[in-house]
Amino acid sequence: MSTPTLEVAHGGVPEGKEDIYAKEPVLSARKLVITFGRVVGLDGVDLDLYPGEVLAVIGDNGAGKSTLIKCLTGAYVADSGVITLNGQPVHFKKPQDAREAGIETVYQQLAVIPALDIASNLYLAREERRRGPLGSVLRMLDKKGMEKRAGQSVQDLGIQTIQNMSQAVETLSGGQRQAVAVARAAAFGSKVVVLDEPTAALGVKESGMVLDMVKQLRDRGLSVILISHNMPHVWEVADRIHIQRLGGRAGVVTPQTHDMGEGVAIMTGAKRLEGSS
């Protein structure tokens, strides 16, 4: 496999950030293909995510954005193609594999459990046990500790609408549920955080908080993949923009080289990027 290189023809390197793109991508995919019966979900997609960058993914409904990130995070297993993490090929069979490799994801359908409370959801599948024999022998959960730390994570995000960590998620509003899912990813992501339309159900203020969080994650050196239909948001936070179209990659642009109108034109097929396949 050849080392992935940035295709300059696709919009180039964001100004002032050349050093990031001199490095090796943290996550990259080559020729991902997945089909669902006769439906082609992904038709040979490439993707590169560099350390400390925010890569937005835009595209029309059904363009394959969610399918792409599901393949990257182990929710789907691609029929063919190669995924590398820090240059090493990886084969995620389930979401837990990707999480253990440091990739946290907020899926479009949120993946929260309505019947469980907020703290239980934040710590789902990474529960912490009590110290001593209660934890090691009886495998008893440290409910109090997790609740406290969950409250801290939510507070760190600046989410004020969620107060009581022992409240069942089913009693929350759609936006609050989204905030829980985002808080979980932000709290536990160590390399890559993937957000599939994280602001879809959020108000103006809460959307702003999520965008701030995206920037914070980048400042901490993490890489973020952000799927969004909100072009102003994308052009505000993204370093580069991966444009997904009809199950393939129509191109990669930067907010500096292309404006929103051009981005949308490529997305809808009204325009083509030079050098794209």
Binding site: A75, K94, P95, Q96, R99, T105, Y107, Q109, L110, A111, V112, I113, P114, A115, L116, S120, N121, L124, A125, R126, E127, R129, L138, R139, M140, L141, T171
Partner: protein, 340 residues
């Protein structure tokens, strides 16, 4: 400004809550309260209706009669929590019981070995249900409907349809029917084993990660998987553990019945499902408590026992149980409609 709004809203909420709504609210947080209330009502009614009902010896008998259903209902509860259903409970128990008894009597196996083989077989039977559900992705209803017939048939073929009386069996197999008296109140070892099963499973469900996964898988399997819960492994484990519990129930049943009979306890399936449902566990999965199931099992048996003490015919007792189930599910639906 905003505080004014919230306090006005709080004021409104307080004024709007009728006593009935407040009850509804309480029940939403503690779904086992309504079955507990029902149990109390039943006790009071039978206390008034029958002079012999609320006596130490009657209570002992009531508990002994409840033991087997209560044990089976633990397995049924964890299966239903995963949004499944187990129609093979009775069949697995009877198969396990006939194998234990036959091995001990005809095979001359020591009690402990016969017991171990019987319980292991029940565990394997549960695992088979689990494998069919997780590997072949068949609905639990269909899987266990099939294995119900299969296990019943094997039990009949294996035992030749013959009962084995307790005096042909080693003491260990009858042991759970033995016990001790506290005055007129007789407690069997079987009852104590049931209490232990509840304590252990109650702890596992409420205090461990595994318990959380059971609820998560039952509530939303896809979200659970995306969150990193090994859904299939949990499901397989749930059916396997349920099988193990049915095996222990088989041991309790031998002691209780004083014999191993291939057509013992014909309504084990319905009785166990009834106990779970009356206990407030949702058939849609993800919601419910084990303590509710224990209360549910007690309600079913109290109704049977109390009515028979009052001289009511079997048919009427069945009718009463049926009405109770419908009322319990209706109450459950009502509680669910609570506004947060």
């Amino acid at each position: 400004m905003s505080t004014e709004v919230t306090s006005a809203a709080a004021e409104f909420a307080r004024r709007q809550q009728s006593p009935l709504q407040r009850v509804q609210h309480q029940l939403h947080g503690r779904p086992w309260l309504s079955p507990l209330f029902l149990l109390l009502v039943a006790f009071v009614a039978f206390f008034i209706g029958s002079a012999t009902f609320l006596t130490a010896s009657s209570m002992g008998i009531l508990l002994q009669q409840t033991a087997v259903v209560a044990a089976l209902a633990v397995g049924q509860t964890i299966v239903i929590l995963t949004a499944g259903i187990d129609l093979s409970v009775g069949a697995v128990m009877v198969l396990s019981m006939m194998v234990m008894a036959t091995l001990a009597k005809d095979g001359g196996m020591p009690g402990i070995l016969a017991l171990a083989v019987g319980v292991l077989l029940a565990t394997a039977a549960g695992a088979l249900n689990g494998l069919l559900v997780t590997r072949i992705n068949l609905p639990p209803f269909i899987v266990t409907l099939g294995t119900l017939s299969v296990f019943t048939a094997i039990a009949l073929l294996y035992s030749g349809g013959e009962s084995i009386q307790a005096d042909h069996l080693p003491r260990l197999l009858n042991f759970l029917g033995e016990g001790f008296g506290i005055g007129d109140f007789r407690l069997t070892w079987g009852i104590i084993v049931v209490i232990l099963i509840y304590a252990v499973m109650g702890f596992v469900l409420s205090q461990t990660a595994w318990g959380r996964y059971v609820y998560a898988v039952g509530d939303d399997p896809e979200s659970a998987r995306l969150s990193g819960v090994p859904s299939k492994r949990i499901l397989l484990a749930v059916y396997t553990v349920a099988g193990l519990i049915y095996g222990i129930a088989a041991w309790i049943l031998i002691g209780r019945a004083g014999a191993a009979t291939p057509n013992a306890f014909p309504d084990a399936n319905l009785a166990s499902i009834t106990a779970v449902v009356i206990g407030g566990t949702s058939l849609f999965g993800g919601r419910g408590r084990l303590v509710g199931t224990l209360i549910g099992a007690l309600i079913v048996q109290t109704l049977q026992f109390g009515l028979s003490q009052m001289g009511v015919d079997q048919q009427w007792r069945v009718l009463a149980t049926g009405i109770l189930v419908i009322v319990a599910v209706a109450v459950d639906q009502w509680i669910r409609k609570v506004k947060a």
